[in-house]
Amino acid sequence: MAGVGARGRLVMGWPVLLLLALCAAGARGLYFHIGETEKRCFIEEIPDETMVIGNYRTQMWDKQKEVFLPSTPGLGMHVEVKDPEGKVVLSRQYGSEGRFTFTSHTPGEHQICLHSNSTRMALFAGGRLRVHLDIQVGEHANNYPEIAAKDKLTELQLRARQLLDQVEQIQKEQDYQRYREERFRLTSESTNQRVLWWSIAQTVILILTGIWQMRHLKSFFEAKKLV
């Protein structure tokens, strides 16, 4: 692809490779530092039937060169995803670079936890790992150029598809909002009931205890022949 003639390939090949390398080596976005046994958790509050795609890339700190190495094979990250009830949806080990996907079946707060399981870090890294993370939820997770190519859509059709996805996302969020509001209302009503019953119970207990105290003391003083 770089040229038909052999000389052409040699001359023109390296800028292509350089540009390819530049394209590939660009940082994937937001990154943070994580300790060796540290577990970093992120919460995603999502409606049901929503797809979540997470991409991460790890870099190890090189103590001698005092710089982060571009990519280190052998590093592993353990990804664990829990649903709102605490049940584990996804629990997998990935390499130094990975992509995880899950679809929510119950609406609510899902917890995505990442922690490194590598033992090499203690020896070389001085305990620091740089993690590039990118989590896309719902319609942000759709790859529109890919959809256009697969379904052979024109630009306008693709735009319409994107708008439909966005509207569907809004609808799901509103359904979830209704479910959340119901939970909130149940909690408030439960608090209301509890305050009512506990107040009545405490007043009754107070009166009964007062009566018991008086009777007990009266019988005690009568026994002591003071009354």
Binding site: V4, E155, T191, F220
Partner: protein, 220 residues
């Protein structure tokens, strides 16, 4: 054959260069919710090109007095934004220096309450929906511009839904906390009531059961 080779490679080079430029201006954004333990600080870093506008929205969802410290530093180490004990805020800035910008959330002033913090960090403008749309020569048709308008409006709707959801999560957390606290305090008060009444009776009885002269017993 030799002339065809450089032409195809130069086309490929041009395509790759275009891709590289598009990557440079691409919206890199992150919307994350994480838990910040007490007396802890967590920092996030993002690479920003010169002249690109970025924005940071953050909100404390649960925990303590719903406040957090936040600061943003540019690649040279200057603090371009610093706020203490804020519940929510929005900050936009046009990057003057190319490099890695750092933003940190600090809960170091709190000794026992861990906080859940949501932040939304957006860099740059939204890219076109198809990669080769960036270099169009004709103007948008009415249909296309209507689609773009609807898309922008729906993005605003989704954003406001997110903010509403966060506020609702905060209120719901407070309501559930209140529900639990009512139970605990009621049980605690009942126990305290029993303890106080029994000890009152016992104490009074102890005043009268000592072998003391009648005058002292009458006096107490």
């Amino acid at each position: 054959m030799d002339s065809a080779a450089p032409r195809s490679t130069s086309a490929l080079l041009l395509l790759l260069l275009l891709l590289l430029l598009l990557r440079a201006e691409r919206t890199r954004g992150a919307e994350l919710t994480f838990e910040l333990p007490d007396s802890a600080k967590q920092c996030f870093h993002e690479d920003v090109e010169q002249g690109v506008k970025f924005s940071l929205d953050y909100q404390v969802i649960t925990g303590g007095h719903y406040d957090v410290d936040c600061y943003v530093e540019d690649p040279l180490g200057n603090t371009i934004y610093r706020e203490t004990k804020k519940q929510y805020d929005s900050f936009t800035h046009r990057a003057e220096v190319k490099g890695v910008y750092q933003f940190c959330f600090s809960n170091e002033f709190s000794t026992f309450s861990h906080k859940t913090i949501y932040f939304d960090f957006q860099v740059g403008d939204e890219p076109p929906i198809l990669p080769d749309m960036g270099n169009r020569v004709t103007a948008l048709t009415q249909m296309e511009s209507a689609c773009v308008t609807i898309h922008e409006a729906l993005k605003t709707v989704i954003d406001s839904q997110t903010h509403y959801r966060l506020r609702e999560a905060q209120d719901r957390a407070r309501a559930e906390d209140l529900n639990n606290r009512v139970s605990y305090w009621s049980i605690g008060e009942t126990v305290a009531l029993f303890v106080v009444s029994f000890s009152q009776v016992l104490l009074l009885k102890s005043f009268f059961t000592e072998k003391r002269p009648v005058s002292r017993a009458v006096h107490s």
